[in-house]
Amino acid sequence: MIDNIISTRFSFTKKIKRLISGNNLIIPISITIIAAIIFSLTVPNFSNIRNILNIFEQLGILGFLAVGMTFVMIAGGIDLSSYTVVSASAVVGATFMVATENVFLGCGLMMMVSVFFGTLNGVAIAYLRMIPFIVTLSTMVLAQGFAIWFTKAQSIYGLPDIFIEIFSGRLFNFIPVPAILILLVAIICSFILSMTLYGRWLYLTGENEKTAEVSNINIQFAKFTTYIISGLMAGITAIVLSAVVETSTTSMVRDVRLMDVIAATVIGGASLKGGSGSVIGTMFGLLFITMLGNVFNLLGVSPFLAMIIKGSVLVAVIGLDVLRTR
């Protein structure tokens, strides 16, 4: 009886909740399309083909981190460290690549370092039951400090030409290689999440850890592996980004970008409480956020004002998340 009273009183909230529910893609796709239409009508040069390619190139680079974040958030965690892990793995790999001229060794090292940090996060969170926010915040500072210490704050130049050519090339002289890569990764990851047993484990663990445990799902394994995947994605980002900018530095991805990644993932349907989200949604969310940044650029909005606006967007998006998961 009490339930009935409550349900009628909150039916309005329920309607909103259904509309913005994480399981449908209507919201991320529609806001992205609406934004694209508005921007191309009102912002000069936005629909220029070169600008559009530019947007997709940026999306390609942040896309890997956003995919990693999607995995982590579906299983109920968060990874704040991935963007500094990119720098830490890039400088280590680049140093050896420059010294040995061996592209495979360099790329391999970048992946290994990023997976190492992912393991650190995963063990602490899944097996030692530490809080994701604090663990990954610490790893973020740790990776940043490591990168600066390792390079003595110097950027690393002189990467092999072949390495730069592979990743900064354009297929058919048109599509940037990073965009192809992210498409490939997105398709594979989307498949894993929606079609496999492992994907189901992640959603159920994020939805309700206790029920998942009673249902014989290895929740520790599920959570642990999401941080490994997030680490792998940071490694791929390190490789692609080093090649595109032809150098490895200690701040390859700026902190504002972390905000972009989180906002994109949440707009795409992931919840900070876990249990929902999808790679396709995240990609549209990321497209929206990237377009927004691009428009600020085209309009000559001060980068600091842009930060204020993006920060507000993130808070608004998280507010909506609270509303839909209540």
Binding site: M1, I2, S21, M195, T196, L197, Y198, G199, R200, W201, Y203, L204, E207, N208, K210, T211, A212, E213, V214, S215, N216, I217, G275, S276, T325
Partner: protein, 503 residues
Amino acid sequence: MTINKQKLEMLNITKNFPGVEALNDVSIVANSGEIMGLVGVNGAGKSTLMNVLGGIYPSDSGKIILNNNHIQLQSPNDAAKNGISFIHQDLLYFASQTVAENIYMTDLPKNDLLPFFISKSKIIEKSSQVLDMLGSDINPNSLIEELSTGEKQIVEIARALATGSDIVIFDEPTSSLSIKEKEKLFKVVRKLKSENKIIVYISHFLNEIQELCDTYVVLRNGRLVGSGNVADESKNNIIRMIIGRDLTASKNIFKETSNETILEINNLVQGNLLQGIDLTLNKGEVLGLWGLMGSGRTELIRTMLGLDPMESGEIYLYQDSKTKKISPKQLLKQCGYVTESRRIDGLFISEPVWKNITSGNLNHYSRGRLNLMNSNAEMQSAQDHIEQLKIKTPSYSTSIENLSGGNQQKAIFSRWLDKKPKILILDEPTRGVDVGAKQEIGSLITELARDGASILLVSSEIEEIVSLSNRVLVLRDGVIVHEASGEGINEVNLMSVALGKEQ
């Protein structure tokens, strides 16, 4: 100052919750210098009555008279103003603060010179006095988290004294205490009695009532069914009042089951909660696990399934005429487990019905190297279960939060039926479901056992235990105190054992 007699009267108290008549025309009188025992089964109305006195729920009608003054209790604050203190079952304290600070939490003494500051020495001094008065040797400087449960309780009592309470209500205070701590607590309660306080003592346990209390009040289904002096009434009579003569209707139909053991648990220990549990579960039987709230029922199950840490104990599984020693986690893999609270660890609340049903048996639906999920097969078998158990839902893809409690529970049952485990553990399987679903679940349990599943049934509803079990173990204070079978499975017998009447 002369000691004046105090008197508390609660007259014709009635309280309804939507759909439930919690209290119906209950009147009690308590005098200072007396300990009044308030007894009754779970849901009899004890807590509601005391919550009315504590100002937590205002009553619908009736009045409360303290020393011939009509008092209004609209909030816990009102109760505190009238000197009423409630010692809750779940103690409320600040763990990282000292004993003294907890005692004076609501009224910290200020420094004389600098009234912005708290005077540490004064708090210590005053709390030592209170603790001395209770005859306790707890150091007021120690932190709450360093104390045992029993000591924490005494701190809570000291707090009640420090705020000048004249009426102290104890709600099941011994449920988590060791025997020694219990004796200490009784000493303190008697001390309060000699200080001329009005004391109301809520308990399931008749032994405690007989040992400690001067008067008793029995509630059943929200009505007053008896009261008087403890010394004047026999224990059997009180038990009869608690259960009610008309409640022996549900009968156990004696059923022959095999003596083939499937699961054996030896000497399971977890802290104070479980003190060496031995049990065997036979093939095709319903083994009832009966005990009052706080007796360790859910703890036993969570520990044997590896969801809570096990301090010591051995688990043996008999399979294919072989005995295998297994770990709790391995046992969980072999079992189906319907948990006590659906919302906490039973449902994936925003997932569709079909994902809830298949979640316990996912390996069955995944195939190939890539472990691809065969969602069509999942939905098909969810549909089969929906039809089989008559789960009322618009479709298998409806989000499970839109189903009624009974149908959610049936969906959880389906999850385990899908896995077809040999052992099924049911913790309060009919809690919060309507009468119709209750019956359906009851006959489902019987049917499953007939088909060869071994079922461990935990329930706080005695009718359910009596009507469904082949054998019943009675749990009290973390120990199995009695095993009943055949004729022995009746409400009077089980209730008297659980309430603490020795055989």
